[in-house]
């Protein structure tokens, strides 16, 4: 594909929507952490084991890594081009009053999410894949205990929740913007997509933020 401003945006939209889809699956898996005591530990560990052994999941995970990297790279390319499109800035600038702050700061919100992802990968993904984890009663790697230990730290849960707020605003604009980029112009469906975007963003982020808080206080 030749690179026009629109094709770059299409790649942002497609990778972004794939990541949106992934978040749903990820959240559904995480909900197992809310199950009572022993069941939660065994089921969560068995689920993690199931995922890591499946070839289909492996392919999806490579698409996921590629999507994250492509989303970041295109974000940088687009930002650089946009900066070039206006070399001299306004001396007096009140343009911010006519658009939403989070729609103008997707790069900043994205950077917060990226930093969060690096920490997230280091603490869980890296340890699970390459670190030494004790085994649970069923002989699966005990990711559950690692998660509950990490979530027992108050500062970690605080940072986690703040990052979910940043993610929520990023999704609020991203979901709707992706639909526009892909060409959703029918007024009726545009309204539905906006509502769906709100429900999706708030639902996903509230769900993700609730789990560490619940684990911190009740486990």
């Amino acid at each position: 594909m030749t690179q026009t401003t629109l094709t770059r945006k299409i790649w942002m939209a497609l990778t972004g929507l794939f990541l949106c889809f992934f978040l749903v699956i990820h959240l559904l898996g995480n909900l197992q952490l809310l199950l009572p005591g022993e069941t939660s530990q065994l089921q969560f560990n068995a689920y993690s084991h199931l995922l890591s052994g499946n070839i289909l999941i492996k392919i999806v995970s490579w698409v996921l890594y590629a999507s994250i990297i492509a989303h970041v790279i295109y974000a940088i390319i687009i930002t650089v081009a946009n900066t070039r499109a206006r070399q001299q800035q306004y001396h007096y600038d009140r343009r911010g009053s006519v658009s939403k702050w989070y729609s103008r700061n997707m790069g900043l919100l994205g950077t917060i999410i990226f930093i969060f992802l690096v920490i997230h990968f280091r603490d869980f993904w890296y340890v699970y894949k390459f670190g030494q984890l004790p085994l649970d009663a069923q002989g699966n790697k005990d990711l559950y205990t690692l998660v509950t230990e990490v979530y027992s730290q108050t500062w970690y849960v605080g940072v986690y929740v703040l990052c979910m707020v940043a993610l929520c605003y990023h999704l609020l604009h991203g979901f709707f913007s992706a639909a526009r980029t892909l060409g959703a112009y029918h007024p009726k469906y545009v309204r539905w997509i906006k509502v769906l975007g709100w429900v999706y963003s708030v639902g996903i982020c509230a769900g993700f933020a609730f789990i560490p808080v619940y684990v911190h206080f009740l486990k």
Binding site: M1, T4, T5, L6, T7, R8, K9, I10, I78, A81, N82, R84, A85, R86, Q87, Q88, Q89, Y90, H91, Y92, D93, R94, R95, S97, V98, S99, K100, S103, R104, M106, H173, F176, S177, A179, R180, T181, L182, G183, A184, Y185, P187, V190
Partner: protein, 248 residues
């Protein structure tokens, strides 16, 4: 009323500009913003200072020639209004008003508040036309267009090309302008025939002129004097995606 002005002064495209301060002691609040600039220029000429250059033509809000940044917003503090339709009653006595040109790499400043918007012309030239054989006028009822469709096409055609969408966009994107022109023609049967080539050429030209990416902040719709809907941008994206996929 008494107002203080900070006006962008720049000799030509290559020179560096700066904000100059001026004062107007007696401004009638029923003056339009451009009339206030006329009064300023008369005062400057009496003082032997080069008058401030700015674009204007009809002063009725329909030609799209006027357009400056007023207190950090294109066409000033009102929504959906051209500079010429803005009146001094929108400001208060003693107010300091910043006046700058629309800024974008694709809109180089020619002098003071005047910018070169010929990049818009080149976008139109690249595809904003319908190729038909001329000759006898065809029978009017052979091409049927319903009233709602004609109205929708006219809503898009109402764009006056003032450039406020580019000026307000944090990315200096010309998506609203280009999409209005593309939608206008894509809706009508005469324009449908060439819609694939049109959207590809016009988007290419838009990029070549150095406009940025549309990130759907929707600021353009708020400032547009003609209230061109941002849904036209989604329509352009739809036409572009379709053309890109189906192109042979």
């Amino acid at each position: 009323m008494h107002i203080r002005l900070k006006v962008w002064r720049q000799e030509n495209t290559d020179s560096a500009g700066k904000l100059e301060s001026y004062e107007l002691k007696e401004v009638n609040e029923d003056m339009s913003f451009l009339e206030m600039l006329d009064v300023l220029n008369e005062q400057l000429m009496r003082q032997g200072i080069r008058p401030v250059e700015f674009d204007h033509d009809c002063r009725e809000g329909i030609c799209g020639q006027c357009g400056v940044m007023i207190n950090g917003r294109p066409h000033g503090p009102l929504k959906n209004t051209t500079t010429c339709q803005l009146h001094m009653r929108s400001f208060h006595d003693g107010e300091e008003i910043y006046i700058e040109p629309f800024r974008a790499t694709a809109f180089p400043v020619k002098c003071d508040l005047k910018v070169d918007r010929s990049s818009f012309d080149r976008i139109i030239q690249s595809g904003g036309f319908v190729s038909v054989n001329t000759g006898q006028a065809p029978e009017a009822n052979t091409t049927r267009i319903t009233s709602p469709l004609a109205e929708a096409a006219f809503d898009a055609a109402a764009c006056i090309g003032c450039g406020a969408c580019v000026a307000v966009c944090k990315n200096s994107s010309a998506a609203l302008f280009t999409s209005a022109k593309i939608t206008h023609m894509a809706l009508l049967p005469q324009g449908k025939e060439q819609s694939q080539d049109r959207v590809l050429h016009m988007v290419n030209q838009m990029d070549e002129e150095g406009f940025g990416h549309c990130t759907n902040t929707e600021a353009c719709e708020v400032e547009c004097p003609q209230e061109i809907s941002v849904l036209h941008i989604a329509r352009m994206n739809w036409e572009f995606n379709k053309a890109h996929l189906l192109r042979k």
